[in-house]
């Protein structure tokens, strides 16, 4: 499957995956983040359920303490 992750094309060797699976595959380990699929916010509790499909636009950004 091909998706866009933060505006860059990415290819994964599967037909679909959950957000949790994508984070594992990409080894994104830092916990505080926001994820959106096609502009829709995915809350942390839904990472195991939310499915990313071919052609999806995935946006992710990290929340660092400090201000």
């Amino acid at each position: 499957m091909k998706i866009r992750l933060n505006n860059r094309p990415e290819q994964f060797d599967r037909d679909e995956m959950t957000v949790t699976e994508m984070l594992d595959i990409k080894r994104f380990s830092y916990k505080m983040r926001i994820v959106r699929i096609n502009g829709k916010l995915i809350k942390r509790d839904d990472y195991d359920k939310a499915v990313i499909r071919n052609g999806d636009d995935v946006q992710m950004w990290y929340l660092m303490s400090g201000g």
């Binding site: 933060n6 926001i34 502009g39 809350k43 946006q59 950004w61 990290y62 929340l63 400090g66 201000g67």
Partner: protein
């Protein structure tokens, strides 16, 4: 475009600022100087001496509520600015009420849990409302790693998205001030888009 034209356009808008610490106080000052019409600012903290290394307060304001101290400072800079302050801890319950009539919202919290809560609340309540976040500003140096990232049409992240404050990597005036001013700059840019659009039509 002349500054007066910019200022007159910005005077129509209300900007919500969530948090009045290093990001919020400095961002508010930049917006006040730019001529934004109205600010809605919420924070529940008081000014402490440890804040003075980066936040827009003065030593003689120690012990004051941040909202009151910031209101005073902003009034001294721009007496024409309308300021609404809320001495309250922001939550998913009060954010939709406090910021309901804001044209754009600036996330200016210290803790990443609060950043997450605000981002989720704003995006769920007003999916189309512009949100400017700060993320990653600890320590000093590495100026070129501080950047603005635009996500979709309405979301802007300012900072390096990498550094997290700690005892060994404290928040300091230069980098916090840069990110706070990047946030203010993003606000001005977004609000000026409608002016540029009006001028063309």
């Amino acid at each position: 475009m002349k500054f007066n034209e910019i200022k007159n356009h910005l005077a129509r808008y209300t900007v919500g600022i969530a948090g009045a610490g290093g990001l919020g106080s400095n961002c508010a000052v930049a917006l006040a100087r730019s001529g934004i019409g109205r600010l809605v600012i919420a924070d529940y903290d008081i000014v402490e001496s440890s804040n003075l290394n980066r936040q827009y307060y003065f030593a003689d304001q120690t012990g004051m509520k941040k909202t009151e101290a910031l209101k005073d400072n902003l009034n001294r800079i721009n007496p024409g600015l309308r300021i609404e302050v809320h001495d309250i801890k922001l939550s998913a319950y009060n954010i939709p009420i406090i910021y309901r009539d804001c044209d754009i919202i600036v996330e200016a919290f210290d803790s990443c849990q609060m950043k997450e809560m605000l981002a989720e609340t704003v995006m769920c309540t007003w999916p189309q409302r512009p949100l400017v976040m700060g993320s990653g500003l600890a320590g000093y140096g590495k100026t070129n790693e501080l950047r603005e990232r635009v996500i979709g049409n309405t979301l802007i992240i300012c900072g390096d998205e990498k550094t997290e404050t700690s005892d060994e990597l404290p928040p300091m005036a230069p980098r916090v001030g840069i990110v706070a001013n990047m946030q203010a700059n993003a606000v001005v840019e977004i609000l000026m888009k409608s002016k540029n659009h009006e001028d063309k039509t």
